[in-house]
Symmetry: C2
Subunit: 593 residues, 2 copies
């Protein structure tokens, strides 16, 4: 991710030139003489991209065919060309031959955990394991490969994927004893794939002082044996008993994680993200990258709770920083947990656990108070709501608050996974945005059927119902919960079939969305959800030159082909940020001037 100032005419060089032009280099602390470095005058050399075909969503939400782009050195689009347009022969200094590839606007993931994604990529990842035995092997191998780490920390396990069952044949969590057998000498803490449960070995439980006498905090549970001793998994709020004991990442770890996260996002064509739950530590890492001119991805940050919001941004959202690459515009709140760990708050009991309806993270009064505290200072509010009871609570609170906090608030429901048909009309009011993750539907299908039973499936992952109700969609991945892959997301959104094509015709197929709606939810919808619709998300004059060159046109290809889309190049603000030609010379550099 390092800028390559020497590589003239490469995208990254263009970024460096933009930095010089707009002073990022100065702001990043160059010596006084360099300050005088002149910026590009308006007549600065422009870049023409041609020999491409593809599309953008236009300001009216319609698909608009694109055949070329002209953008300047400040990273702003000057002109968009359409099929049949005559392309200019001069008026530009650099020419990029698109080689007949498909062009799309840079894609936007409206729900990621940037630091979580980067740190997870640098830690133990069990998301590809298909059995407990396979997971234990990976844990052993990782521990052996990292003898220096005092704790072994990882994530991604899913007992459903392992088919883990108890003696009665019911799904069960793994245990500390099973983990001890693989690694007993060091504490081990492994978060579930959805981040709503953690699996500890005995050394970790000991380090956290969790015993038979430990009571689970409100909003959490500690599954235990008959004798009351913890089995090894801590659910939702009970995870807070462990996390304070983990060795925190150092600043250098976070900087490395951010660089890693950016390359993972760019590799799948993502140029902007909403970071859902930004801590002050995350924010400082974002700023360090911005100050060092190594922040390329656009981050729309939502603070992890009110206190972090006030600490980071003070009494109002921050301005857009680093040429529209960073802004703290809102706050993330949690109304409930997740379906997988049965922390999601349902109106009726879980079909596969009739004793529980899950639980709310707070009551309606507190939710209203926290939302007011943010809204009165002009911050946007994004609330995690998965169960139908949680979604109802948030939607009714938004309806109440909208009388007081008028104007364009863009209240966000994060996940909005299960919505009661009775509450769906509220999604169409008060400008509510449903920030949803298409691949959650394909990944969770069987689990969701088990948890919800047949009666509630009509309101599950109900994208089309949201649109019909007049709600706005912003699609994302919830990475690192799912891979940050907008093409897999588009495929799921238009087919409701898994990567295996199952179930043929799609699960609850009435909730499929059109190809145009899916692309919009990953571009203009995401920009709207972050108050960025005038900055990026479309290919249009005056907006940022964020685009990708790929091999598959999502308007025409099969869902399976779309999911396998190859990303050739990712450009942000008129600069190519992926692939890193130095890191991957074999990919070649296609944009000679």
């Amino acid at each position: 991710m390092r800028p390559r100032l020497t590589a003239r005419h490469t995208g990254t060089a263009v970024i460096a030139m933009i930095a010089a032009a707009c002073g990022a280099a100065c702001v990043a602390g160059c010596a006084a003489p360099a300050m005088a470095r002149p910026a590009a005058p308006p007549s600065a050399p422009a870049t023409l991209l041609d020999n491409v075909h593809g599309e953008t969503i236009d300001a009216q939400g319609q698909v608009e065919a694109v055949s070329g782009l002209l953008f300047d050195q400040t990273g702003t689009i000057l002109q968009v060309f359409h099929p049949g347009d005559k392309l200019p022969k001069k008026g530009f200094a650099y020419h990029v031959d698109g080689q007949g590839r498909v062009i799309l606007p840079g894609l936007i993931d409206s729900h990621v955990h940037v630091m979580g994604l980067g740190l997870a990529a640098l830690s133990l990842d069990l998301s590809d394991t298909h059995s407990l035995a396979e997971a234990l092997d990976q844990i052993r191998a990782f521990a052996a490969a990292h003898p220096d780490r005092a704790w072994i920390v990882g994530r991604g396990w899913n007992q459903e994927a392992w088919g883990l069952k108890d003696s009665t044949g019911a799904s069960r969590f793994p245990t500390a004893a099973e983990l001890d057998a693989a690694l007993g000498d060091r504490p081990v803490w492994l978060e579930r794939v959805d981040g709503h449960a953690g699996w500890a070995n005995s050394a970790a439980l000991k380090a956290a002082g969790i015993t038979a006498g430990t009571k689970a905090p409100a909003g959490g549970t500690i599954p235990h044996r008959a004798d009351g001793s913890p089995e090894g998994v801590l659910v939702d709020a009970a995870m807070d008993l462990m996390t304070p004991h983990l060795p925190p990442p150092r600043g250098a770890d976070r900087d490395a994680a951010l660089a890693k996260a950016q390359s993972l996002l760019f590799a799948r064509g993502l140029t902007a993200v909403a970071d859902m739950g930004t801590s002050i530590e995350d924010w400082q890492a974002f700023r360090r990258a911005g100050d060092a001119n190594t922040l390329y991805v656009r981050i729309m940050a939502y603070a992890m709770g009110i206190d972090q919001m006030a600490l980071i941004a003070g009494s109002a959202p921050t301005p857009w920083l680093y040429q529209d690459r960073l802004r703290m515009g809102g706050v993330k709140l949690f109304m409930d947990g997740a379906l997988g760990s049965r922390g999601a708050w349902l109106k009726a009991p879980y079909a596969d656990a009739p004793a529980t309806r899950g639980l709310p993270q707070m009551n309606d009064t507190r939710l209203g108070n926290l939302m007011s505290r943010a809204a009165m200072d002009g911050f946007q509010v994004a609330v995690h709501a998965i169960g139908d009871a949680a979604n109802a609570a948030v939607l009714h609170t938004v309806d109440d608050l909208s009388a007081t906090y008028k104007g364009d608030r863009r209240w966000r429901l994060e996940h909005a996974q299960v919505i009661d048909a009775a509450d769906m009309p509220l999604v169409g009011r008060n400008g509510v945005i449903a920030s949803m993750q298409p691949t959650h539907q394909t990944s969770d299908r069987l689990m969701a059927e088990a948890r919800l039973g047949p009666g509630r499936l009509a309101g599950a992952y109900a994208w089309q119902s949201v649109l019909k109700a007049g709600g706005r969609l912003a699609f994302g991945s919830d990475a690192p919960v799912e891979r940050p892959d907008p093409f897999a997301g588009i495929a799921a959104a238009i087919s409701r079939e898994g990567p295996d094509g199952q179930p043929a015709g799609g699960w609850q197929p009435q909730e499929k969305v059109s190809r145009a709606a899916a692309l919009a939810a990953y571009t203009t919808g995401g920009a709207w959800a972050g108050f960025a619709q005038n900055r990026f998300g479309r290919l249009a004059p005056g907006l940022r030159a964020d685009f990708v060159l790929v091999d598959t046109d999502p308007m025409t290809a099969s869902p399976q082909a779309i999911a396998k889309t190859r990303v050739f190049e990712t450009w942000v603000g008129g600069g190519k940020v992926w692939p890193d030609d130095q890191a991957a010379p074999e990919t070649g550099n296609q944009n000679r001037g």
Copy 2:
């Protein structure tokens, strides 16, 4: 402090132009189109300042006479003119007539608490009270003027200045009962002038749960009555029992405090400061101002302890941000307290309290560990040391660490108020910088004589001895402990007489420094102490155009006249930042183009 983009050719307008030229406006989040705003090419209109006479300290530490300046729109000095030089007739677009005033480099205060200064200016200030009764009157009046404040918080009291004595005639602290008589219905918390003790009323003690049963934490004391009940004052670390209960300033309060602090600094000719003990809340306020292009003063930030250092800057000092207006380059540690509250750690007992030698805030091993933790990541270390035992501990630790952490470390002793002659040679080794406050000497004289007795006065505020030993001086005010007034400081430094001229000839006069040494300690010495010597602190080509126009030449005027210096204008980076012509139109605007 708001930029006035409309006021063409005024200094503030120049700042705005610089911002545009170097992209601060972009970084502060202007809309995409504005991004293309062209910067000043190298041939940009320059500004000529003439009809001035004064001096700067040159690179060799010598006094260099100055008769004019040429600087460009990026805020960089192009040329310095000397008496007799022929001034250019063209090659500049703007002309500023200095009207025969005295020019000096922008002055640097090497030890301030920026947020403390601003917040204090917006809170109850008792530093001008001369009796307990006068203080109680002011407390009553302030509380009446602020009925909305749940707590009454202030600072600046000094029982010495009140001549407060107990029945035996010994100096004593004020009591909670005395405060209750003035204000009993709301909690009151008032910090002593040196910030090393706090005075609470009964309501505040109750809110903090401080009773006869409360034990003072290590490093602190709770003076109490015979029955063990607290008298009302908490000393040093005991203050930490109260501070968590104070209502914290909100972001908007901090933003207002920073603006207030900047105007107070500029009004006395200060253009750069070392912020000694920056918290994450302080840092975020600095960044908000930088992002909004309202940070004009140059802040060299030293984090309040290792944890804040790592949180703010990560694994290395930050770059210089906002065109050399902000950098986190080091950490502030505390070895002891202050003389006034007898928290300073002495080798021998206090002359006026033979039962105590004060106390260290940590042992030598911990000091070495904390200094190593900072130094291994390249951070500068500044340690508060006032008593001779504290200074000895820091100097010996620096001597030990210098073998491991080689190179240009610029270890800083903050205050260095009492140094044993036996330790003075260490000040000349390892590049130690003594960051001292001349007006502490004149303010503390009688108190210091009482605390130290005659035997230790030779090593007290021993500026000349520091220079003789080969140490470097950086002068400051410790504002808000003292007013941030470099001219009062220069006067004290060259005379060791108080504003009243007492004692005639100076107290311990052998420790006076030359006028040149005093000016250097407030300019080049402060820049060196902050690794900024190639950015500001002198009037020289390539450095920032930071300067002041005043009515008194510190090289020739009497100490009393210097202390009364009138500041006409303060310029930072080629832009006039004080006076604010809109706020104070009667001062006129002297720099028409």
